[in-house]
Symmetry: C2
Subunit: 242 residues, 2 copies
DNA sequence: ACTGACATACTTGTATACAAGTATAGTAAA
DNA sequence: TTTACTATACTTGTATACAAGTATGTCAGT
């Protein structure tokens, strides 16, 4: 297990972060991608040896993952909980809840700057597609929604967002990398969804917002299916290797 | 600053927890009570010396508080953010959001056991009043709401609850301790509010639930006012001492 | 008086050391 | 064969050590 590590989380997203945070990101996405199996037990010492760091940053990483319910810290080792299909649906329950709340607040605000910013991000996404950069696209996708959440200046809503964000980010990233290869045409549909968001915010029309949330949710359903496909694939590969 | 520590967080609530978690609880309630001032800077070394532990559990505690937005970890020290009145209102926005979501789910479930459990907790609260035990009352109060949240078996809603819980717990505890001395008659009103909750869950009548949430919210408003009073008092005391 | 360099005393992040507790395998006895 | 015990090799939690970076105050030079 002490072979050279192949990192799958984009390094430039965590360039300035501490080792602990970097490790958490990497472990998180591996668990979500199914590379680290549900039910397996992680030991601080083994992880420290694998990643060639001391236990201090490993402990930090495990605490972070435990606070996201991705692992469960027990007396003898950290049990990998991972994400079930139910978990992912519930994550999006929360996201829907947040975005609905946020939208109600947005209705009372001047949205000129917000719309401008979202349009910029939307164009960034377009560029990312042009250059077939799944990571960059995912980054802008998450940033788009985060920008909306931040716009209402609500500390606790932002806290919830920040709590759910890492898992969501990993889900989107994995899904987008996959679509880049197999379902590239999906990208324009995702882009279109974001247009609907912008329209809803600009017009302050609840009906359009509901449409945006609805479309987003449908897209999510597919994301989830993608993910399970990918997990099954990974599992099959592993079985074949054995 | 290295005098013997007077702990204000109930020790038996954290008897089995690690030093880091215990320290987080104590620091949290001190910050919320205003004993540690907003804007002041906490250093790991100084805290370690004050509490006579090493930096390891201190670091753990600071990470926890940072994840609750109570402090802000910067390069040179942890800045105490504390809670503004706005923060507390926003906290209860979130609580209202969660409980509304939960209630919609509860409507679809068999609530026999839940009602039984809530009734039990309600009686415990009554006993706590009888023995003028503000801490026990607060504990049961938080447990009451947590029991409702847990009943729908929703991992991410529970995650949000767990994130907001420590701050809420501290707020309730401080408020109840104060009322025990000065506004004891409030206890029966709080108890009555919980009856409305039980009734709403038993009858599955949205109107009653809205009433319960509404009453709770009004009570919260008073809690917040209490807290600011207590903070002002503390500040005045300090000024007089100087 | 004012500015810039530098020593110093802080800060955090990471590595390592030690202590206390727990699961496990293997062995001895019934 | 089964059961009880014990040695052992793990586990985490906490303390300490070290490294690298940052704010601050002093002092020299202008």
């Amino acid at each position: 297990m002490s072979e050279k590590q192949n990192y799958i989380y984009p390094e430039k997203w965590i360039a300035n972060a501490s080792t602990g945070v970097r490790l958490a990101s990497e472990l998180r996405i591996r668990i979500i991608a199914g590379l680290i199996e549900r039910g397996s037990v992680l030991s601080e010492n083994k992880l420290a040896a694998e990643f060639e760091v001391s236990r201090s940053p490993i402990r930090e990483a495990l605490k972070i993952l435990a606070s996201e319910n991705i692992i469960r810290l027990e007396r003898m080792g950290a049990v990998v909980v991972g994400l079930t299909e139910k978990d992912i649906k519930e994550l999006y329950d929360v996201r829907l809840m947040i975005e609905t709340f946020v939208y109600e607040r947005i209705l009372k605000l001047d949205t000129t700057n917000l719309v401008k910013e979202l349009s910029k991000i939307r164009e960034m996404m377009e560029v990312a597609i042009k250059y077939k950069d799944a990571d960059e696209f995912s980054y802008q996708d998450v940033l788009f929604h985060e920008t909306i959440v931040r716009s209402i200046n609500h500390s606790y809503i932002l806290l919830i967002w920040n709590n759910a964000k890492p898992v969501m980010e990993s889900l989107i990233l994995l899904s987008m990398r996959m679509r880049m290869e197999e379902k590239f045409e999906d990208y324009s549909r995702v882009l279109n969804n974001h247009d609907v968001y912008i329209e809803a915010i600009q017009s302050k029309d609840r009906v359009i917002m509901i449409k945006a949330l609805h479309q987003n949710f449908e897209d999510v359903q597919e994301k989830v299916e993608d993910l399970w496909m990918s997990q099954q694939m990974l599992t099959k590969e592993k079985e074949q290797n054995i």
